[in-house]
């Protein structure tokens, strides 16, 4: 039961919209006359809520799919119920009261565009422009096979959204600590405070990795030139190196 409550709290999050929904549901329980609306939005929704809080149901769901139990709450018609009850109540007041209803929702919720993960789009791909610039630098030519690169963690999600012709030594699956793999030796080397050139190039060679992309501010111990790795360009925050020990094959 504790797990279920945690999931419910996580879903509810920072706002009071679920409370607003419960109040709207109670209102419908007491006042809705239309039998179909009552069956679907009152009885049906209540049964789904009861199921959600039922421990047996929770354990059954875990057998099917783990980590998505919160999606049961999607089956509750929260938006429809709140909006419907809202418009019934507001109909009793002057037309301008709709602003108050809107404000109440705003107070109970959280503005989506204030989310830390929403930012101004830098290009139509909606990925950081620096990723586009780096990818353009290392993209294989028409007659060349796909290339492999190693990237700092913060770029990993975006590189292959730009082009599937660029492969990565490790991907997003290594960023989530609770996923299966544990850490990748190359990621370990990339994330060290001071980059050991000798070790990084050795790992890049064994991973058949043609490009190394490093944060500009990273401290580097050793000289890439001594290991047949050439600096080919950079962006505002990143430096791009070509590991010439690994050939780029022609098609």
């Amino acid at each position: 039961m504790k797990d279920i409550l945690t999931i419910y709290q996580q879903y509810t999050g920072a706002g009071f919209l679920t409370i607003l929904y419960l109040l709207a549901l109670i209102y419908l329980w007491l006042s809705e006359k239309n039998t179909v609306t009552r069956a679907i939005f009152v009885y049906g929704a209540s049964v789904i809520q009861l199921l959600f809080f039922c421990p047996l149901f929770y354990y059954g769901y875990q057998l099917l799919d783990k980590g998505t139990y919160y999606r049961i709450l999607w089956l509750l018609p929260m938006t429809i119920t709140i909006a419907y009850v809202g418009c019934i109540i507001l109909a009793k007041y002057p037309a301008g009261s709709v602003i108050l209803g809107f404000l109440l929702i705003a107070l109970c919720g959280k503005f989506v565009y204030s989310n830390q993960y929403i930012s101004k789009a830098e290009n139509p791909y909606h990925i950081p422009q620096e990723v586009v610039e780096i990818c353009e630098m290392i993209m294989p030519k028409e007659n060349e096979e796909r290339v492999t690169g190693v990237f700092p963690d913060e770029l990993i999600h975006f590189v292959r959204q730009y082009s599937s012709k660029i492969q990565m030594v490790y991907g997003r699956d290594y960023l989530a600590p609770d996923w299966i793999y544990g850490d990748h030796p190359m990621r370990e080397a990339m994330n060290k405070e001071k980059i050991q050139v000798f070790r990084l190039v050795k790992l890049a060679n064994s991973a058949k990795c043609q490009y190394i992309i490093l944060k500009g501010e990273k401290q580097i111990i050793g000289d890439f030139n001594n290991f047949n790795v050439e600096f080919i360009g950079g962006t505002k925050h990143y430096k791009v190196y070509r590991n010439k020990n690994v050939e780029i094959f022609e098609k």
């Binding site: 049961i72 037309a95 204030s114 989310n115 791909y125 959204q161 082009s163």
Partner: protein
């Protein structure tokens, strides 16, 4: 650019309306309208894609071209058939859509509907000019892009680009392949399509469904409808109380199957249930098509994510029980359970394979 836009309009507007026109003819008269025609056509085309694509995903790892060919042929036949039928109706001077009832426009209604328009437009503009980060894009969007660029189906690991075996969990939910199809046909990069273009359509469809639900709920007092829509917009704009809410999914990742489930399929199930049961005891013609639509919605649910199969069945199952008990008609339970057959088949496939 112009050609890309033209093909996009053909696929996302003309084809759904054309296909919807076929259904429109057999819909109950009350439900005949351009919005419903579009919605029904869009859902039918998604279901058609799922039916075509899943077997090919299993049987042929290089089968994307085959999917493109088959789906395009069927889409053309269906939408072309619908449009020809509609033209025939025009010639016979038969009405396709029901005549609009009188709507007493006044200053308040004009202001309220303008507010609805502005709020929706604001969200559409924001969908284009802002970028939202979601880690799952590294899987779903990349999968669409891989399919568009390499013609392979689920045999390349999106995260790294290395080869992989078929991942059953994702392979049956072919929504990313549908995006790849639109990308291939239009020539628009799958990432641009997902992040910048599709949200315009998918968010509009979501609001379209909420509008239709509102129309049913506010049937007796049409003046309430704009207020209902303003509140729906508010609930989406301010629904980001956690990363799990359907509003968060709509505003930040509507190009992913999960969001499609939460914001298109589930609301559409409520809408179709309202249509089916709207007038008690009324044995109207055209009800069969509504049951068929519910059946279709279960196929579309399976297209969105593996969990959708269970969630949609659960929703319909609960509603079946409640409605059966309320109306004391066992037929309702049987019919609603029969609508879940696609979900049962996909679930069985998942377990067996």
């Amino acid at each position: 650019m112009v050609i890309k836009g033209f093909v996009l309009l053909l696929l996302m507007v003309v084809a759904p309306i054309g296909t919807g026109l076929l259904i429109n003819n057999v819909m109950p008269e009350k439900q005949r309208g351009i919005g419903n025609t579009y919605l029904c056509g869009f859902l039918c085309l998604l279901a058609l894609f799922q039916v075509i694509a899943v077997p090919i995903v299993f049987l042929d790892e290089w089968g994307f071209s085959l999917i493109v060919m088959l789906y395009t042929c069927l889409l053309t036949i269906l939408s072309g058939g619908g449009i020809i039928d509609a033209l025939h109706c025009f010639r016979m001077e038969r009405t396709i859509w029901k005549k609009k009832g009188s709507y007493n426009w006044n200053k308040t209604l004009i202001i309220q509907w303008s507010m609805v328009g502005i709020l929706i437009l604001f969200q559409l503009v924001m969908a284009v000019v802002t970028a939202s980060f979601d880690g799952d894009d590294a899987y779903y969007v990349v999968n669409s892009l891989i399919t568009q660029e390499t013609d392979t189906l689920y045999r390349i690991l999106p995260y790294t680009g290395l080869s992989t075996s078929l991942d059953m969990r994702h392979a049956m939910a072919v929504f990313p392949i549908w995006i790849a199809y639109i990308a291939k046909m239009t020539g628009i990069h799958a990432t641009i399509l997902s992040h910048t273009v599709l949200p315009l359509f998918l968010m509009s469809i979501t609001y379209g469904i909420y509008y239709q639900i509102g129309k049913k709920l506010c049937m007796e007092k049409k003046e309430m409808l704009p207020v209902y829509m303003i509140l729906v917009c508010g609930l989406h704009l301010f629904g980001n109380t956690s990363i799990y809410t359907n509003a968060t999914f709509l505003m930040m990742r509507n190009w992913q199957g999960k969001s499609m489930l939460a914001n298109v399929v589930i609301p559409a199930v409520f809408l179709v249930l309202l249509w089916i049961f709207e007038e008690e005891g009324e044995k109207k013609k055209g009800k069969k098509i509504l049951w068929f639509l519910l059946f279709i919605l279960n196929i579309v649910a399976a297209m969105m994510s593996t969990a959708s199969v269970f969630l949609n069945s659960l929703l319909i199952g609960v509603m079946a029980l409640v409605l059966t008990l309320q109306k004391k008609e066992i037929k309702i339970l049987i019919k609603l359970i029969m609508c879940c057959i696609p979900c049962v088949i996909y679930a069985a496939l998942y377990v067996v394979m």
